[in-house]
Amino acid sequence: MSESRSIQGAGLGLRRTMASQLSEATPDGIDFLEVAPENWIGLGGRFAKQLRAISERTPLITHGLSLSIGGPAPLDEDLVYAIKDFLDEHNASLYSEHLSYSNDGGQLYDLLPMPFTEEAVNYTAKRVKRVQDILGRRMALENVSYYITPKRQLSEIEFINAVVSEADCDLLLDVNNVYVNSVNHNYDPMAFIEAMPADRISYLHIAGHYYEDDGLIVDTHGADIIDPVWHLLEQTYALVGNKPTLLERDFNIPHIDTLMLELNRIREYQGANVKRDVITA
């Protein structure tokens, strides 16, 4: 395996619609880019050339969508092997997935909520271990936003801690999801972050979202980041250090200059915080 590049600072989720512009030049202020491997594996033609140009210049990390790590369908090991090749090809230092499921024998293309049960912990942890065996490296799991809990033997905090500890994996802490869940499930977001395994946090996600009219928040990655989330990010840095932070924007994608404003603000917060943190996967 080639030596991976460490990441730090502020990164951006690369969508196919941005690839053309970013393949010409990566603006100063984008320290790394994150791609969903399932959007790029097996692609030739223009997209492949753009991604190659980008990953030769800018450190790349990967954030999966389709593995369905906690799901009822058999673990897609072919996908894991393909991701391993993709990581090597682009010298990508990280692979993360969502602590959720998306496949019930067919892909459903969305992140469904896990029951918070012992069985789900054991099952998911075994699958994560298998993935890590194949990849020859640790993966990170992301705390997802969820609107229902199919069954609750454990709290969400207990559930996440148990999976991470049993699987011996890393955590991708999505600060926006913590905020969304804290509103939808009525808890203190900072207390939640304090209860996360800080030494296992490999990087952070931050995004905007939409309000529904009856007070429920739906996580869409389609809007600017709101002030309470910025505040939570600031507090998170103070607590766990300046973890590398990735801005996600999936819909209503504005001009790159607007995204740069948010990236710069991330870096300002990191600069204001004295705890420095660099990760190497």
Binding site: G44, G45, L67, P72, P74, D104, G106, L108, Y109, L216
Partner: protein, 255 residues
């Protein structure tokens, strides 16, 4: 498949997850699982539906435009109910949707050009993301005449009973036998040539052949078969091949 990473049939987790996804796929038949907030479950139903609808309208923009909103939504719902998409790769979902369309009888009020159009839009995407590159050979006239020729994987001859490449909202919906060579050019853009039936037949023969086709031989045989003038067939064929050679779509098999 490892036992450790699959669920036993009596698993509670399996039951919780399948009851939930059954409802999401087919809410008319499977009610909201007991104990779950209907309003919140509805968020998942909407997200799932809109995700796939948005992806498919990206892959099949003309089809989406030609169908009524109700027909489009009905197709997406049917896709969830009857189809299990296996590919984890998002760009390959177009293929799954086409396979789904081909597997179903269709309804009376759907347009007859639905399948041909879907195939054409899939073909454009298929070529756009194909991992091959053009062979990059430039063939002289002698080689075009006498060598065994093959067609690049990035060029596909396709026959339709509708002019799929011209379908748009102000279209008169007339059937017309349509022969195309759809290809990815040297700038990675997707283009097409309209073909005469004979040209389509020649390119299909070249495309299907493992060892390559000597075009002049094929054209002479075809002229004989149809009782036509050999020279004019060969001349026609060579002019055609020159055009494709210019785009680097054909290559000679070297022995």
């Amino acid at each position: 498949m490892s036992k450790e990473t699959s669920l036993p049939p009596d698993s509670e987790l399996l039951a919780l997850q399948t009851h939930f996804t059954q409802h999401l796929r087919n809410p008319d038949t499977y009610p909201v699982p007991e104990g779950l907030n209907e309003r919140r479950v509805g968020i998942y139903s909407e997200l799932i539906f809109h995700n796939i609808s948005a992806l498919m309208s990206e892959f099949f923009p003309v089809l989406k435009q030609m169908l009524s909103n109700d027909d489009w939504d009905q197709l997406i719902r049917e896709f969830f109910i009857t189809w299990r998409a296996e590919t984890p790769y998002f760009p390959r979902l177009a293929e799954e949707f086409l396979a789904f369309l081909m597997s179903r009888p269709g309804t009376n009020h759907e347009p007859d050009y639905l399948l041909p159009l879907a195939h054409y839009e899939w073909l454009e995407l298929y070529l756009y993301i194909h991992e091959d590159e053009l062979p990059g050979q430039s063939l002289d006239e002698k080689t075009l005449n006498s060598a065994r020729l093959k067609l690049s994987e990035l060029a596909v001859p396709a026959a339709y009973q509708f002019p799929v490449h011209q379908i748009r909202s102000a279209w008169d919906e007339q059937e017309a036998a349509t022969f195309l060579l759809v290809f990815r050019d040297s700038t990675d853009s997707i283009r097409f040539f309209e073909l005469a039936p004979l040209a389509y037949e020649l390119l299909s023969a070249i495309s299907a052949s493992e060892e390559g086709v000597i075009a002049t031989d094929w054209l002479k045989d075809k002229a004989k078969e149809l009782g036509q003038d050999e020279t004019s067939f060969v001349t026609f064929g060579l002019e055609l091949l020159k055009r494709f050679n210019k785009e680097s779509l054909i290559y000679a098999v070297i022995h």
